[in-house]
Assembly symmetry: C2
């Protein structure tokens, strides 16, 4: 006697083979009554599909690796939640799931290699990409499929999805210029220096367009990504001989520090952050919002559809709140 098959289950339940497959793989697509009938047939026949056996045949685990890092105790930005949900949803549509792993920086590639060789993952999503990031070339040498949230150099030839950080910061500057500001400072951090550099470029380009760059020497500060540093930067800028009337931050953490300094001193200083964190909402901070959901969906598509476009640059969106009201 042969072990029961999907066809046997379909016949006993009086449904199509596809419906049985849906109950097994995407039960949300099946009405509860039908689902119960199929479940009863599965139980009666003792049918047992085996995804791992299927995987062995298909030589695919239908799993995508993602390294989860510990939360930064000083940072306010947290993209994991939104990104992981978006990628899980996109993966589901393509019958893939996300597999989380932890690793130190120096062991990340070796861990990916071990998971891939063991057949636990088909590929991996990278993020926090630096200009000279060693992971893309290493994974390419190992022939492990990957897609990156972020680019290495300008000519990144690996599959990537990124936010146009320069455009985001430029939009913040444009908004402030429209409100009448002429002296606009920029503060950025050391985490993700490549991103901070692109934001600085957006700040410079937008200022230059309005003939404001020459007068902005000494208004570009970089330091640790903490609220305390932002607060120190805020004090320093307000103590400047010719203080700025507005500040753009490369992230909300620094921008909130600047805003705290301004509010503590009762100073009029417009502030715009980057990342649109929950803290920005709580503090009425204008901020540039990254389309993380779109990034999550695009990165899974980039990973699963080999041969598609190499790179995709998405535009962030400025969310205006009270912190950049008219001065």
């Amino acid at each position: 006697m042969h072990p029961p098959t999907v066809e046997d289950v379909a016949r006993v339940a009086g449904v199509s083979r596809q419906t049985v497959s849906n109950v097994l793989n995407a039960p949300q697509r099946v009405r509860p009554e039908t689902r119960e009938r199929v479940e009863a047939a599965i139980a009666k026949l003792g049918y047992r599909p085996n995804r791992m056996a299927q995987s062995l045949q298909a030589a695919t685990s239908r799993m995508i690796g993602y390294r989860i890092k510990p939360a930064d105790p000083h940072g306010l930005s947290s993209i994991h939640d939104r990104l992981l949900h978006a990628m899980s949803e996109a993966g589901r549509a393509a019958d893939h799931h996300m597999l989380l792993f932890t690793a130190n920086d120096e062991d990340e590639v070796a861990n990916v290699q071990a998971l891939h060789r063991a057949g636990a993952i088909d590929g991996v999503v990278l993020y926090g990409i630096g200009i000279d990031d060693p992971r893309p070339p290493a994974l390419r040498r190992l022939r492990i499929p990957f897609a990156a949230f972020g680019r290495t150099g300008v000519d990144s030839d690996h599959p990537w999805v990124d936010i146009d950080n320069a455009a985001g910061t430029a939009a913040a500057v444009e908004h402030l210029v429209e409100l009448g500001h002429r002296r606009i400072a920029f503060v950025s951090g050391t985490v993700g220096a490549a991103v901070a550099d692109r934001c600085a470029e957006g700040w410079r380009t937008a200022l230059d367009k309005h003939g404001l760059l020459d007068g902005s020497h000494g208004l570009n500060l970089r330091g640790e990504d903490t609220i305390a540093t932002g607060e120190r930067f805020g004090d320093a800028l307000l103590d400047h001989a010719d203080p700025p009337t507005a500040v753009v931050g490369a992230n909300d953490t620094l921008a909130i520090g600047v805003l705290r300094a301004a509010r503590r001193r009762g100073a009029r200083l417009a502030v715009v952050g980057f990342d649109d964190t929950p803290a920005a909402v709580a503090m009425d901070l204008s901020s540039v919002r990254q389309p993380i959901e779109a990034v999550g969906h695009a990165i899974i598509r980039a990973l699963l559809n080999e041969g598609g476009p190499t790179g995709l640059l998405l535009n962030p969106e400025l969310v205006v709140r009270a912190s950049s009201a008219l001065p």
Copy 2:
């Protein structure tokens, strides 16, 4: 000729079988030079382990399911990041990984069932547990291993780990009583009503202990979990005929709303939140911090060690900041 084995690789690389196993499963434990030697031997022999084949033999996927929900656009609290990292780390120590899936509430159990039957997960971690949550009994009927962050009724007999929310809120009240406050209000939301009920119980118990409960009628407000609701509650409490001098929130979202109302009006009102979110740090809000990292480790232990203690209650910790300074 037989396919190459771990022993062959060990012999060629001049290392122990365990070292080869470490390179395959936990490369971070192996020094880079040794790792390279083993990798070279693996490449030379064409050795290919197969985790899925191993899983078929062991009838275990070494994967733990976790449903990731979309981020609440109004809430400030986000535990996924910290919890997922802690669980991934705990899982790694036991050679397990986390598998993320998405689902609607009504399809969650059916999705878990499909993943479990397909051999994609060994068990699942539940969270957001309600008093009459249908998931624990359903999973028990299906004989699917699970552990829950949260309890159902008082006599939960499924494996769970929870925060003692009543103790956390009581600690906040004690702190305010010590500072001299006698009229202490409580605000809570509708999301996670079981948790809000336990916080309310902690508030009542602590007030009663100091003989302050009888005078606190009308100081217990419940509404939507948004900053706007908290702000409305703050205004209502400050407009009270006999206004409170302090407010305890069941979460930071509502507490920050109250704090915004107080600051906008220049009113002296001490405020303590719950969850210690990044926004609490940005706003100098005192808040009760959940030991999420400990929860993550404990819940994986509870899931993997069947037969251990059924429940584990962990104490949160009050973090004092400027929002509850002396009035």
